[in-house]
Symmetry: none
DNA sequence: TATGAATGAGCTTTCATTCAT
DNA sequence: GATGAATGAAAGCTCATTCAT
């Protein structure tokens, strides 16, 4: 749980009660959904009075946004972290496959540490325009450009077929997402050989978009 | 809309009011979600008294299930229709790529005609165990076996690499789903060259899993 | 059941549907009470459309009154039947104890044949002014005078102590009612030696109010 | 009313609103019955929002049970209070008639102070299994054994005829109940000479079951 | 800052009653 | 007469939010 709280915690300090509220809200909402979770339930599990929730989050939806927004930011963080971009362009990765491997491993660990948060994000994205906004902004301003840059770079390098970037993205992203959803949400209890799965997936992806094919 | 009602209508007749109720429920729920749509709203839009809804669907959730269950069945219908299986095994399709093409085209048209229904299915799947049950049953009993059969067949024929079926499915299905979601839900207003998109997608998929690579 | 319908049937003929409605209403209301029984349930059990009930009884309460009013009349019928009064005054019964015995036996059989109807009467008496009216009228106009007449007669004859009639009634009536309620409603399944019970009860009553004591 | 609230109040404190709710519920339900009294009416009379009722009693039926259960307990309280039993066996009462007199006086006062509560109990007993349960438990575990003990004691002492206890109880209890119902519910407005009535009633009862007869 | 009783609008659901067929 | 779809008022209940303490 501490990892997950790292994802959420901003620079300012939170009171212990506020942390309890967030934890409880995350547990309950990820289990039962936003509309099936009442503030009184959250308060009870957090060991806090119902009014206390509204001292910290003036609205139930505010509480949801406070949970979900940092996830959106963090999910895509490495993609636009200066460090990452630098690594790519300073050829820390010899090939697109290497980059993909590093990227997937990194995001895999993040997902593993934040399953409940990601569940909430996926489930509620459809219903809350506020969240959709945040998501779209991050995607178009950060993720998409970073992706494009990287793809252009490795195309130039001869690692990739000359497909439109959009097409490549539409292959790569759902494949990764699909794997993660299956891995963590649909069949979390299956025995997975994660490393093998990832290698295989990359093999197939590169078979589809790599230059050699 | 008439197409969509075909997806829902059973053999027996519905009263005009019942059809109106279904239509209104579909519109509203697909726009705003199940929990943000009240039965009084549905009644108002359907031009019907609120009690009339409960004469036909004894529960609000019953109404949802009546909307969503036929979609689950129809989404996967061609996969387990005798006709389809026959076609596959009587070599109506010379290659897995051909099969894929026919399949995607067919499902693309279905999706196009049923966007609101599919939106509802995707959005509510997470929260209603009844729906999850129906989905799981159809998937494990129908879709998955049909897929396996087809994959085995074309593997034997030498069309496909010798990857585990599960891995192939985990590549192919999310890729197709991802495309459709982008096409019909995330960016429905973008100008799409559907035929080209599909061809490209198949190219990449076959690059990843086809025998030639 | 045929006996019970005798209690209800007036001179005019009823259609078979109407009889079915009455039967079903009696069963359901005596089991679950008036407010827990819906007209649609009654219709279903009667094998009749809901509207048909309202063709015969313009109101749900009308139906109840149609069930309960004849019971009130019949419960007390023997008390004011000319025949009964005649018997009393022509000394068909040698003693008040004899009269009591005949009376209790008679009412016992009536109760036995009409348990559901009596249950309904007892349960709903409290809530429906219409029923209370009917009950009060019958009691003050018929039962009470007949009782007084008989008591005066047997007092004069020296069978009874010189207690106020009201006091005697307040001993006799609740004792009989209490026995019947215990016998038919509270503990209907206990094995009863009815004849012995009745004899004992009369013994005690006469011990309390009879002249010998 | 304060007396009545004593019957209901548990050791813990109630908020003033909760007291108002109870009072209003008792008034309305005893006048019109449970099913004819809506929670909104209760709220209005109590000067409280409807939601407030459900904060204190999670169900309308819970409210009813909260009203009725303490009555059941208190109605029979003296019968199984150690003090009462002691009194009986330490011959505080010289005869069964004395005991009866003390007992009736005591219960008469209780009834007088709790008419609405008792009305509710009598009226709703028929329809609510929860209440029936509570009633049966108290009767078989407390009232019945205490009665038996007392009857055996005074039989041995030669005060009572050798009738079966059950028969005695079936005479005594309905007679007392019948008197109280007539006195407080059926004809509360008649001018009563209570002391005389009670004396007379005891006379008759003892005439019926006493040893001298 | 924290509490939790109180609020009241809004929800789903029930059901006696009506009426066109 | 009989039907049963339709009605709509009213019910019990939920819950995010407020506010005096």
């Amino acid at each position: 749980m501490s990892d997950m709280m790292d994802t959420l915690r901003n620079e300012e300090n939170m009171t212990p009660k506020q942390i309890e509220i967030l934890k409880s809200a995350i547990e309950l909402i990820s289990e039962k959904g936003y509309y099936n979770t009442s503030t009184s339930e959250i308060a009870k599990r957090a060991g806090v009075a119902e009014g206390t929730i509204f001292r910290h989050y003036s609205t139930k939806k505010d509480l949801l946004v406070a949970i979900v927004t940092p996830v959106i930011t963090n999910i895509s963080a490495p993609l636009f972290a200066t460090k990452f971009v630098d690594q790519v362009f300073h050829e820390d990765y010899n090939s697109f496959a290497d980059l993909l491997h590093a990227f997937i491993n990194n995001r895999f660990e993040f997902a593993q540490a934040n399953v409940p948060l990601i569940k909430i994000l996926l489930q509620e994205l459809a219903f809350h325009p506020e969240i959709q906004m945040a998501y779209k902004r991050v995607f178009t301003e950060k993720v998409y450009p970073a992706f494009n840059q990287a793809l252009d770079f490795y195309k130039q390098k001869g690692d990739l077929q000359n497909l439109p970037n959009d097409t490549i993205i539409r292959i790569v992203v759902p494949t990764i997402l699909g794997f993660m959803m299956t891995r963590f949400i649909l069949q979390p209890d299956k025995e997975w050989d994660d490393e093998a799965e990832i290698r295989q997936m990359i093999g197939v992806i590169m078979g589809g978009i790599g230059a050699g094919s």
